[in-house]
């Protein structure tokens, strides 16, 4: 379970994230979408304890991410957009560290890597891996162990078609295990495929949220999937445009069961 209550973040006088309230239930997949600078990564980084929220609260599996941060992170898998691993780090050492702090047997961790197609790269350094291999490694490590909340920041970036399919499979498997998944993505096709709920953010604010059908209705778009473009892209453009047009226009669709 992931829960944000009026969570906000400012860098100096500049607000990066207006107060946001959101919940992701076990087994639910929620996507954050929006243009660059919308606050998607800041939301995920605040939840992962990478940046300190300026106000409000956030909880992972009931643990406050600020006051009970170690317990919160013990149930959390996080994929950073920047990955955040020195290039000289040996893959085997990284895997052993994650397995150890998450209480997973090293053999199981290695098996996870083998499944991700990286079984022969254990002796490589992180810098020696290709962009796609790095991404696959970090996703495999993020899902390792007793993780009940998964935060993924642009999980499909740098991946080829096969890698993107693996990411989708990893997200589906996590959902099937009852993990609450919150991910940020610019790949709207993946969002439409995976997300139970979509949160549209603009300039640090949530301007809309709901299922794809609910968002389509809010945007006045017929959800028929007809060419020349998938409806989600039109829906996205309309909602982001509205969000930009007026700071006061808080178009928000909140499903009652998700609030």
């Amino acid at each position: 379970m992931i829960r944000l209550e009026q969570l906000q973040k400012s860098y100096g006088a500049r607000p990066a994230l207006e107060p946001i309230t959101l919940a992701v239930a076990p087994g639910e997949v929620v996507a954050l979408v929006g243009p660059n600078g919308a606050g998607k990564s800041t939301t995920l980084r605040s939840l992962a304890g990478i940046v300190r929220p300026s106000g409000g609260h956030a909880f992972i599996a009931g643990h406050d991410v600020v006051t009970d941060s170690v317990a919160a992170r013990s149930r959390l898998g996080y994929l950073s957009q920047r990955l955040g691993v020195p290039a000289s780090t040996v893959v085997r050492d990284l895997v052993r560290l994650v397995a150890s702090v998450r209480g997973v047997a090293p053999a199981m961790a290695v098996q996870t890597l083998t499944t991700a197609g990286l079984g022969d790269r254990l002796r490589s350094t992180f810098g020696e891996l290709s962009g796609g291999q790095r991404q696959r490694l970090m996703i495999a490590l993020a899902t390792l162990g007793p993780v009940t909340a998964l935060l993924l920041d642009e999980p499909g970036i740098s991946l080829d078609a096969e890698g993107s399919e693996e990411v989708r499979r990893a997200i589906c498997e996590a959902r099937d295990r009852g993990t609450a998944v919150l991910f940020a993505s610019h790949q709207l096709h993946d969002v439409a495929l995976l997300a139970d709920r979509i949160v549209v953010m603009v300039q640090g604010r949530v301007v809309a949220q709901g299922s794809l059908a609910e968002l389509a209705q809010a945007a006045g778009v017929a959800c028929d999937g007809a060419p020349p473009e998938p409806p989600i892209e039109r829906i996205y453009r309309i909602l982001v445009s509205r969000g930009r047009d007026s700071a006061a226009s808080h178009l928000t669709l909140v499903r009652e069961d998700a609030a």
Partner: protein
């Protein structure tokens, strides 16, 4: 294995794989042997009583070379903490990330220091005998204390500065202040304070720098306090034989306090 121990092992493996310790061991080993040979030949090997005379020369090498290297290494390690987004998202305390980096650097550079001073010790032992050998071992202990303290200080600088370039710049400036500034402050204090009242101030001043603390402690091992300058003389006058313990405590303090501050600073930082 606890998460903190796992983290320490991870950092230690990374530090052992780096080249800093190897270069330091080779460079410091060569310099130490050279200083030992020059010291022995200058005094005449036959006239030298074991380790005592050469050790004082080696101490000068330690107080000049070890702090600058440790401050820079610590500063880089501290600045790089801000790049460890993945490690910071694991269920470990941020302060433990800083501690594990300090421990890994202290162990690897400490081993390099042992190789360097050990090589010189073998040369001295072979050429001039083993008299005062146990004092030489204590000198190595002093060198390790200086290393631990200046690494901790460097880490604090790095964590605060956030970028490598800024951290290294500040570390070099701090080294310069610690190695020269305290002596200048002592000269100033002697000029300003009334005669007879300067002792406690000069003693405090000596402990205001881990480098001067280490130097005075090292000199006291070989009864060479006479070259410890006015601050060393003041320490002898004020604290007597307890001076060595006070200096040791100062060096431990110079390790614990910056390390704690670095841990707190990093815990509150956005990455």
């Amino acid at each position: 294995m606890s998460p903190t121990l796992s983290l320490c092992r991870f950092e230690l493996e990374a530090a052992l794989r780096g080249r800093t310790a190897s270069f330091f061991a080779a460079g410091f080993g060569l310099a130490s042997v050279a200083v030992a040979l020059v010291g022995l030949s200058a005094g005449g090997v036959l006239a030298v009583q074991g380790f005592a005379r050469t050790s004082v020369s080696l101490l000068e090498l330690v107080v000049w070379a070890v702090p600058v290297l440790a401050l820079i290494t610590g500063a880089v390690a501290g600045a790089d903490c801000h790049e460890l987004e993945f490690t910071a998202s694991l269920p470990v305390r941020r302060a433990h990330i800083v501690f594990s980096r300090w421990l890994a650097s202290t162990l690897t550079l400490g081993a390099a220091l042992l190789v360097g001073l050990g090589s010189a010790g073998v040369v001295i032992g072979l050429l001039a005998g083993t008299a005062d050998g146990w004092r030489y071992l204590r000198l190595i202990g002093v060198a390790l204390l200086i290393l631990a303290a200046t690494l901790a200080l460097g880490l604090w600088i790095g964590v605060t500065a956030r970028t490598r370039l800024k951290a290294v710049g500040v570390a070099v400036a701090v080294w310069f202040v610690l190695i020269i500034g305290v002596d200048l402050a002592a000269i100033g204090a002697l000029a300003v304070l009334p005669p007879g009242n300067a002792g406690p101030w000069l003693s405090a001043l000596l402990m205001a720098s881990p480098i001067d603390s280490g130097r005075a402690l090292g000199l006291s091992l070989f009864h060479a306090d006479v070259v410890a300058g006015p601050t060393g003389a003041a320490l002898r006058a004020v604290l007597g034989k307890a001076g060595a313990w006070a200096l040791t405590a100062a060096l431990i303090g110079w390790t614990v306090v910056p390390l704690t501050l670095a841990g707190r600073q990093f815990s509150r930082s956005d990455l």
